[in-house]
Symmetry: C2
Subunit: 460 residues, 2 copies
């Protein structure tokens, strides 16, 4: 190609008129579609009507739509994207030099916005559809606060009320993200709270509890369902979220095509799958359509290994078991990562789309231990400047490993990885790492047997 | 101009080949040059030889050079700039809409790097010249840690040792930036420390002291002077720093020229002057040469009003009085901002270059109170997405005020302001603001008389 000889800049920014106008729905090209969500009471596929009590109508449509390939991005969302997108596609010249690798390393950096991550891509879409539906507001849960921050920003932009249930221990110990959310006008409630039935029940049973994500989800869903004009929104796992996050991969592909770059390996960290699913989407589409082959690697923490050690089965999405059931790679909804696990990526399951693709052999998965992840984070920060989030650093770890393999073999592979966000709110973990107080943890087979026992028995 | 009809994108990014290749030395176009630094012992202008005991040779040359207009940016620094520059010039469409102003508002955003501010522009230059001189490392002081972080990143890139003396109270109460610095391999010492004579002396006299910037400067200078292969570096105030920071204004001007945009008003926050001096440099150059007129507004905290209420006189640059003396607008080296002052911009004096320009009538200055600054910060964050640093929010305050004036008068002014950085490490202050616990403070005339009494008597 004539474009192949262009000098590759350190950072490739698309022009505004080159930015994607559509999201890409990967499901349209999947032969084996992801399994449908099930109603936990009837074990029948959730209908649009059932889902619309919890989610916005348009998002329900997106969630259930396995066929439409391209979704036009509404102009209002395109305009919001212009405030922090396109995100740069960066050539990691300095990391390559440091590693002395013949590999060419690129990363798509999603951290240049106040939410500090890619989460904003879907938050703004979900807030938009809530606004279009004439809703008053939305509810959600948040752990450390990354998703809650993104949603607060999106709701502030559209003038929607935003109620965030924040796991109590995070609310108290990580006040900074809470203050960012308050800056954007969100009401942030420590969970469990006395504002919901389920919260009051849990507080009565366990007066000293510091909360859990499962409980916060239950409170957020109850609040949405019992308040007219409110719906519940979620930042990962769901098909709709992967659809919105396809903007990451679309931009990456447009930028790479512009310079004639073809990645051999595409690497992303995987918790619920929102970033990985978005990053790989258009490349995976080409692979599914038989147009071009790529190697995809999902990277997960060894302490929460849903793809590498989980089961592909229907499971509850939340510990409270109030949400629909999903077929996915899962450790069981009773799985709780070791307390020494520092980063995110602690969800017990994985996006149904990615689970299906993994099960069908289109994607690999690797698990990595957290001290090696922080070593990669520090090495990356020192040469590339950016202080990465622990989650993103899982992808850095494997990107470095792959580049070092190229050094051994002499292969000049082109590696693309997703740098999902910044670590400015994760410095307690960095401090532990610097002080040598960070340890690794791999759940034993017995641990996993116990959490697998929380899988529903009735369906395979 | 034909360019005037181009649609202005939300964000203007220069291409790599459009980025500035030179820094602009504003002094070359000043009729009244900034007064020279004086040796506090002899009251004679500091010679290059005297200065080179403390600073790197090339930086001494830059410090003393009032004549060379354009300094080529060394290729290694240009390469580093490419990792986080060009910084975007953003059209604040959403803020304009929110304010319903006919004004056109632009901001140059310097926060998209791990140091979180423009400080990196000079840190990398100073580290480069230290490396070129074959030095082992550099020393500096830091308060909350913004400058220390930038310098740590720069030193890590060039493999230089970096010793940061961090005011003890910040070291203990603001551990996050300390951890960022450690990630980049810097050694961070709480000041006062027992590693220096001056530190030990102060610890003996005031065993419970929590430290001060003045003391940290003294320790950093002593360490540089007494360790072979080390020099001291400083992040603001100095002429050399303004030279490096001219990259902000150069990029802004190139981007504006490209789209045929001419600012009427240029606004920047002013502490020591590094950002303001850099932002306005090429525009001020045109004004000094009589080519075009602009209105320049320096914005400072009402609690530390060096331009609006200070005296234009020779003063000590540090409370320890070990550094050369500078002629500047100053409140006296004994001035300490009220403890309720939240943001930075707490230096008692102001860059000699900016002081001279202000005294010659080329620039205005305004002081603003901190609760109004945080109100502006929050208003900005909610529509433009970015969570601004308290320092930067001083400029936002006045930009909003000017835009609202345009709303009254109907004038379609073009406003450019400097958004120097992000507020991710300032959330304790945001929390105070949200909780209604933030107050304003304006020093009384008596307060200022007391601090003016610390001015040296011998020279006017």
């Amino acid at each position: 190609m004539s474009t192949e000889n262009k000098t590759i800049p350190y950072k490739i920014y698309l022009e505004e008129n080159e930015m994607p106008k559509t999201w890409y729905n990967l499901r349209a090209d999947m032969k084996n579609k992801p399994a449908p969500l099930l109603n936990p009471a009837t074990l029948q596929p959730m209908t649009a009507e059932e889902l619309s009590a919890v989610f916005c109508d348009e998002l329900v449509k997106q969630e259930l739509d396995n066929d439409t390939r391209d979704y036009p991005i509404p102009q209002e969302i395109q305009d919001f994207y212009k405030m922090y997108r396109p995100s740069p596609l960066v050539r990691a010249y300095c990391l390559e030099k440091k590693l002395q690798t013949p590999a060419k390393i690129y990363y798509k950096f999603e951290g240049n916005n106040t939410s500090g991550s890619h989460k904003l891509n879907s938050a703004i879409a979900q807030a938009y559809y809530a606004k279009m539906q004439g809703l008053k507001g939305v509810t959600t849960e948040t752990g450390a606060g990354q998703w809650g921050t993104a949603l607060s920003m999106a709701c502030s932009y559209f003038g929607l009320d935003c109620k965030v249930f924040m796991v109590k221990v995070s609310y108290e110990q990580k006040p900074f993200r809470r203050e960012v959310m308050r800056t954007y006008g969100a009401s942030v409630v420590p969970s469990p709270s006395d504002t919901t039935q389920v919260g009051r029940k849990i507080l009565a049973e366990f007066p000293g509890t510091t909360g859990s994500l499962g409980c916060a989800i239950s409170e957020a869903v109850e609040t949405a369902v019992s308040n007219p004009g409110y719906r519940y929104v979620l930042g990962s796992v769901l098909n709709q979220v992967l659809l919105h996050q396809s903007v990451i991969g679309m931009e990456s592909k447009i930028a790479m095509d512009k310079y004639g770059i073809v990645p051999d390996v595409i690497i992303g960290c995987a918790g619920g799958g929102s970033n990985l699913g978005g990053l790989i989407a258009p490349f995976m589409g080409e692979k599914l359509r038989g147009e071009r082959d790529y190697q995809f690697i999902a990277v997960e923490p060894a302490s929460c290994p849903s793809l590498t050690r989980g089961r592909f089965a229907y499971d509850f999405c939340d510990t409270g078991k109030v949400c629909p059931m999903a077929k996915m790679y899962t450790l069981g909804s009773g799985f709780i990562p070791s307390p020494n696990h520092a980063g995110g990526l602690r969800y017990h399951g994985m996006s149904s789309i990615l689970s299906q693709l993994y099960d069908d052999g289109y994607m690999e998965a690797r698990s990595v231990e957290q001290t090696s992840v922080f070593r990669a984070a520090e090495e990356f920060a020192r040469v590339e400047g950016i202080l990465p989030a622990p989650e993103s650093s899982h992808a850095i770890r494997v990107a470095i490993d792959e580049a070092l393999k190229c050094k051994e073999t002499g292969e000049e592979k082109t590696i693309l990885f997703g740098l999902t966000g910044t670590g400015y709110f994760d410095l307690v973990a960095y401090e532990k790492f610097h002080n040598g107080e960070m340890s690794d943890y791999i759940p034993s087979d017995e641990d996993l047997q116990k959490s697998f026992a929380t899988l529903p028995k009735v369906i395979g």
